[in-house]
Symmetry: C2
Subunit: 458 residues, 2 copies
């Protein structure tokens, strides 16, 4: 047992109490009623960063939710400088009734911590904090320079972070950004994602009349916003689930054959995936494999559709308006703005003539990114994962979006390493989100190994 | 001025206070949280019926919300017996934010009373109560026998009323049912609707996965309940708004040419209708006139569609389930059960293979009805309308459903006369529902004229 391991063992109870306190704060950034919780959470993180021994700790203004900053820069100019990234905000927990235990009261069952934010991203960020604490407590110093930022708008939009990175590009200058907000390929598979999909989102409203109308009086002549909406939205995908927006796939590049060949080393079962999500059928057509559709093909998904009466019983109303939220996942050379323009043009072209279409907002955008295979930080991370998990790490791709990776590349000119310890099956964004105690422990040990070895690999 | 008019004039302030007290009770039958208000409202009506002088007044159990009963049966066997009908329950007032003044705080603006239930059906029923009060106060007796029922589940479902009518068919035996729950053709047009459309409603749920999923992780392979729902619902109507359910129009009979010729005497402007509802286009195709589509053709309308995230901001979820409520308006020989079977068979046939379809409930059903043109009660009502409004009454049809008319025919063997004083433009079931003070006054005088003359016409 190393001295780091001994420190972690003797601190285990305190560490878990601290993580639970962090998870109890309902830091939901997308709902205005949680503004106070956001502030409280930022202050909690700031207190932690100070307590573990980073210097110059502060809450930095962004025009939105504050960013927690801390640093340790005494490893010398020859040592690499890492920018560590996490976020303290979480997704809404609705619908609450689908949670087995309350989303903001962490509960341990079967070796997992259940709570909103446990895997996205409070648990994985916590491994970074505890690895830093451990090395500083044991050695009194870090072997590399570290700058840490923890933001509060990852689930919301990246505009403030973008401005923040640009305005503070000298403060944040670094050799690599290490992002905790990512997942392993699967349980007990130490692994690193080489690419991220981007995202482009929008919200729309259709209107068909000046007021809601009685279906007995006006049924047969009055246009119905819900019928207009379902007709319009049905044009967005074909019956196999391929995106039917004209030009949508034009900027997608085919994958190199050697990469898809590598993927065959990963444990994967299409049947198991289908059982895992509880679907009777996977969508997307058969022109591309399931892994390619999840990692290297773009998508369009409706996230919310609503209009008319949703209560118990019957209300025979012809609704005057109806709403939808959707987003696209982007790959390769697809950029958010041009994709949004294609989607909007499609929607305008297919809007039923009795309806007025309004785009309510463009909710988020992020470019896709792929990290270089020859990065020394990637090599250090693979070795650290081998130490932390006791088996060789594999490379894969990730289907989700981590806007910060694209922003860091744009604003700081730095590549990002996705070094997170959640699992795809942890239920991020869904009821009963959880994070494995095993990944909490192995992730922390991986980060200790990474931070103590990265200097030599650089 | 008749003695009846004089009585009404001197009672006007008190009558309005009473109506406002009635409108203040949020007797929403479709929302369980208003159960106490329903009971309170039934007791309020019962107190009124007692106060105006009816006999044997009581709240009768139905297995659901109570029915208020009262009678006055001393006009003798030679006089006709009328069953007067109204309902004290109202539609939900949501969305509250679209009301200019609170829905359960009646406000008078521009000669109208604004409140939920003002036109459907508290205001029109109130004309019946005040006409009875007036004749009993002035004459000490009624010239016809009267039985009054005021139910509390009109907006909910008719099952309990159906059982009630059957179980109490001797108590309720009558020569005609007079229904306050109907509307005039238009403002300043005294008129009676000859027919009502029926209704058949259902609610459905689609499921595509065991849990909500993250669109970054699973987008491209996971089925999305919202996409399945919009595809399915888009098959229900064609692009002109005609119902696309196979066999839907089979039981519709063509209208006699003489009836559509009569309709040309009614003031009607398609442009004005379109402006009134604020639509850029009327739907339903051009094979039938607008009046025919509203009165004598069947319809299918979505009343509510929902699934996924509806809050502020973005939640990149792939929803596992999605919901819809819909109903059909029926005409001629269409019956609710066979029509529901056609709609369900269509939905099952068109359900996307990745989705599981469940019918949550069949919310309501009512047969369409047409009243005989040679009824003596119809003749008396036309004359009374001429007295009350000072101009000749016209006949038209009504597009909406009054389930009680079909039930009364089935259970008591009696035809119904639709003698209500609301307007199609009163916003029944919508925000800012209202009832004209002019119709309150003229309606009450029409009912005095009808009740005092119907014996001679019978």
């Amino acid at each position: 047992m190393t001295r780091y391991d001994a420190y972690l063992a003797e601190s285990a109870t305190r560490h878990r109490d601290e993580l639970f306190a962090y998870l109890r704060i309902p830091s939901v950034s997308t709902l205005p009623e949680h503004a106070d919780d956001i502030q409280r959470c930022a202050e909690w993180v700031s207190g932690q960063v100070e307590a573990i021994g980073l210097r110059d700790v502060r809450l930095m203004e962004t025009g939105g939710n504050p960013i927690v900053y801390g640093e340790w820069l005494e490893a010398g100019d020859a040592a690499p400088t890492l920018l560590l990234y996490g976020h303290y905000d979480v997704q809404p927990a609705e619908p609450f009734e689908l949670w087995d235990t309350p989303p903001f009261e962490p509960a341990v069952r079967d070796g997992r911590i259940y709570a909103r934010g446990s895997t996205d991203n409070k648990g994985p960020l916590f491994t970074y904090l505890k690895a830093l604490e451990t090395i500083l407590a044991v050695d009194g110093r870090l072997p590399c320079n570290v700058k840490l930022i923890v933001e509060g708008e990852e689930e919301l939009r990246a505009d403030h972070l973008d401005t923040f990175l640009h305005e503070h590009r000298e403060l944040l200058a670094c050799d690599a950004c290490i992002i905790s907000d990512s997942a392993l390929y699967g349980e007990d598979v130490p692994s690193i994602a080489l690419s991220l999909r981007g995202m482009a989102a929008l919200e729309l409203r259709l209107e068909t009349a000046a007021t809601d109308l009685h279906s007995g009086m006006y049924g047969g002549v009055a246009p119905n916003a819900l019928h207009a909406l379902v007709r319009l939205l049905a044009t967005l995908r074909d019956e196999e689930g391929r995106v039917a927006v004209e030009g949508f796939y034009d900027a997608v590049r085919p994958l190199p054959a050697e990469e898809t060949a590598e993927w065959s080393r990963l444990p994967f079962s299409e049947d198991a995936l289908q059982r895992e999500i509880g679907a009777s059928k996977l969508i997307g057509g058969n022109e591309h494999t399931v892994l390619e559709r999840m990692w290297a093909r773009p998508t369009l998904d409706l996230h919310g559709v609503w209009g008319g009466f949703q209560g118990d019983g019957l209300k025979t109303v012809i609704p005057r308006e109806a709403h939808a939220k959707l987003s696209c996942r982007l790959v390769a050379d697809q950029e958010p703005e041009p994709i949004l323009e294609l989607v909007k043009a499609h929607l305008e072209r297919h809007c039923p003539p009795e309806a007025t279409l309004t785009f309510e907002s463009e909710l988020a955008g992020a470019s896709p990114m792929t990290m270089p295979r020859d990065s020394p930080f990637l090599a250090a991370a693979r070795e650290a994962l081998t130490v932390g998990y006791g088996k060789e790490a594999l490379l894969f791709r990730s289907g989700w979006s981590v806007p910060v990776a694209a922003l860091v590349k744009d604003r700081l000119g730095t590549d990002s390493l996705l070094l997170g310890f959640g699992l795809p099956t942890d239920g991020a964004h869904a009821p009963n989100e959880h994070f494995d105690l095993a990944n909490l422990e192995r992730g922390t040990r991986t980060m200790v190994a990474f931070l103590t070895s990265v200097n030599g690999r650089h």
